[in-house]
């Protein structure tokens, strides 16, 4: 039972272990730069939505950084598929597609949670006080799962590395900047607000920020995150099913 899930996870974690130091170091740099540039220097004395800017920023950095890591498995899957052909080993084995998706998603969640812990360390170092609401744990699990599943979907649909990079440039990067990670979305012009409210990151950022800063958690947003997670799980499954080596 669960051989597929265990196998996929074993493979991903074994490969991760060979480059863990490099990866963790690399993923820790950009949030630190954001913290210094926006939180420390520019944001000093500024308050947003009744919070010191740096307190507002930390949850945004958590969603941004964990999204980058969880969704980032798309890049690795690409290499696995097109360059090393290791993905064929999964396809040839007597395991279900669901297990492949769940195994890869679990790995994406693992990477996302690792970067989340890193931001908490920064929060501690920068003296930012956070509150832990149980909703946070649920939200971060859903958030990392849904972006890992999106990463799997994209990685299975694209035909080469180039297309993957294009998706990142035109979808992922704009989403990261506009979905309330660095500033409240309510300040956006109407047309952008419409776009942003169609993106899952907007809701996970709102819920995670509220759960860490003592704000009010909107149950509708939680529901929408669950829906996005279900949607991307389904698309990932569909994409793995149709993939041919």
């Amino acid at each position: 039972m669960f051989n597929g899930f265990k196998g996929v996870l074993y493979r991903e974690l074994s490969v991760f272990r060979t480059r863990a130091k490099k990866q963790i170091l690399a993923s820790s740099l950009s949030p630190l730069l954001y913290l210094i540039a926006f939180g420390w220097s520019f944001g000093r004395g500024v308050s947003v939505d009744g919070l010191p800017y740096i307190t507002f920023l930390i949850p945004g950095l958590i969603t941004m950084s964990s999204l980058n890591q969880s969704y980032g498995i798309a890049q690795e899957l690409n290499i696995t598929r097109f360059y090393f052909h290791v993905f064929d080993e999964f396809l040839i084995a007597p395991i279900s597609h669901t297990e492949i998706v769940l195994g890869e998603a679990a790995y994406g969640m693992f990477k996302g949670l690792l970067s989340t812990i890193l931001i908490f360390v920064y929060a501690l170092l920068f003296g930012v006080k956070l509150i832990f609401n149980p909703v946070f744990f649920m939200a971060i699990l859903l958030h990392t799962f849904l972006f890992a599943a999106l990463g799997i979907t994209i990685a299975m649909i694209v035909r080469d590395h180039g297309t993957q990079a294009t998706v990142n440039t035109f979808v992922i990067t704009p989403m990261i900047f506009l979905s309330g990670t660095f500033f409240p979305v309510d300040k956006l012009p109407y047309i952008f607000k419409m776009i942003v409210y169609a993106l899952p990151l907007t809701y996970s950022t709102k819920v995670i920020r509220a759960s860490l800063t003592g704000g009010e958690i909107n149950p509708l947003f939680v529901f929408l995150i669950v829906m996005f997670a279900a949607l991307f799980f389904y698309t990932a499954l569909w994409a793995v099913r149709r993939v041919e080596a």
């Binding site: 051989n3 196998g7 074993y10 493979r11 490969v15 080993e89 040839i92 084995a93 080596a245």
Partner: protein
């Protein structure tokens, strides 16, 4: 280690009217054959004939357009997980994880194929021994030579004791000595373990040396089938090559004496190879 499933002469795989279309282009146009337990079947043909496509369909990596694939009489598309237990696959390009060790690569396979935990170590040791890679157990695969990688991929495919092993161009790009050691390993798999083998190749001598039966495939169709010797006998055992100004004329004879009779000046008599069979059937050489 004998033929543990006792499937000698039982049909392991039956392929019926395989058709594969890529858009309008037909890569396979009605390929049918059967493989029994312990068989060694070669799929011989030039690049682009449809060899890899056939193997990919039979292992579930590519979907077929028309036709049927049956393992022990059961429809592959209806029971993919059950059938995959019988299948071992050695793809054309090594699909090992270069950053992982030989052991880790094999261990992953034992998990994916549901080999019970208490048996895993024993099986992996046995596989490394069989491949002659025991001392390299904990080395990263990226430090391995091409021949070592190929051997590792082969024993990995055998870990779950498949009843049929697919080898897609197993010796392509290897130097002659390494090719020979690989042939020995492959023959050992077929004869000692009793695993049926389907091997694709465009090396004539490889098919002649290893395969009990050969299918010659060209442009997505099987154009001849039989033991290499029979195929050669069918066109004549000996070739008379007459060297003309701008081409070589070839004539086939059942005996050397008859061939020599037709030879007056610049000409040569030699034994027929599978390549001649191929050439006669298709009008083109394989290694071009």
């Amino acid at each position: 280690m004998k033929n543990s499933a006792g499937d000698k002469d039982r049909t392991v795989l039956s392929v019926e009217g395989l058709v594969k279309k890529y858009g309008k282009k037909k890569a396979l146009q009605g390929v049918s054959f059967k493989i029994a337990g312990g068989d060694f079947l070669g799929l011989l043909g030039p690049n682009g004939a449809g060899k890899t496509t056939t193997i990919k369909i039979l292992t579930g990596l590519t979907k077929l357009t028309e036709g049927g694939v049956y393992y022990y009489g059961k429809d592959f598309s209806g029971h993919p997980r059950e059938a995959k237990r019988f299948i071992g696959m050695v793809p054309q390009q090594s699909n090992l994880d270069r950053d992982l060790t030989a052991f880790q690569n094999l261990y992953l396979h034992t998990i994916l194929h549901g080999i019970p935990k208490p048996l895993r170590m024993e099986k992996i040791d046995e596989a490394l021994e069989f491949a002659g890679l025991k001392e390299y157990r904990d080395r990263q695969v990226k430090t391995f030579s091409g021949g070592m990688r190929r051997r590792l991929v082969i024993v990995r495919a055998l870990l779950h004791e498949p009843r049929i092993l697919f080898l897609d161009e197993p010796t392509v790009g290897l130097d002659p000595q390494i090719r020979r050691t690989l042939w020995e390993l492959i023959l050992k798999v077929n004869q000692v373990k009793g695993t049926a083998i389907l091997l694709t190749t465009h090396y004539i001598e490889e098919a002649e040396k290893l395969c009990g039966r050969v299918l010659i495939i060209n442009r997505g169709r099987i154009i001849a089938e039989g033991p290499p010797d029979d195929l050669k006998k069918d066109i004549g055992r000996y070739v008379l090559e007459i060297f003309l100004e701008n081409r070589i004329e070839e004539h086939f004879f059942p005996t050397r004496e008859e061939a020599l009779e037709g030879c007056d000046h610049s000409c040569k008599v030699r034994e027929v190879t599978l390549e001649d069979v191929f050439l006669k059937l298709t009008g083109r050489r394989i290694n071009v």
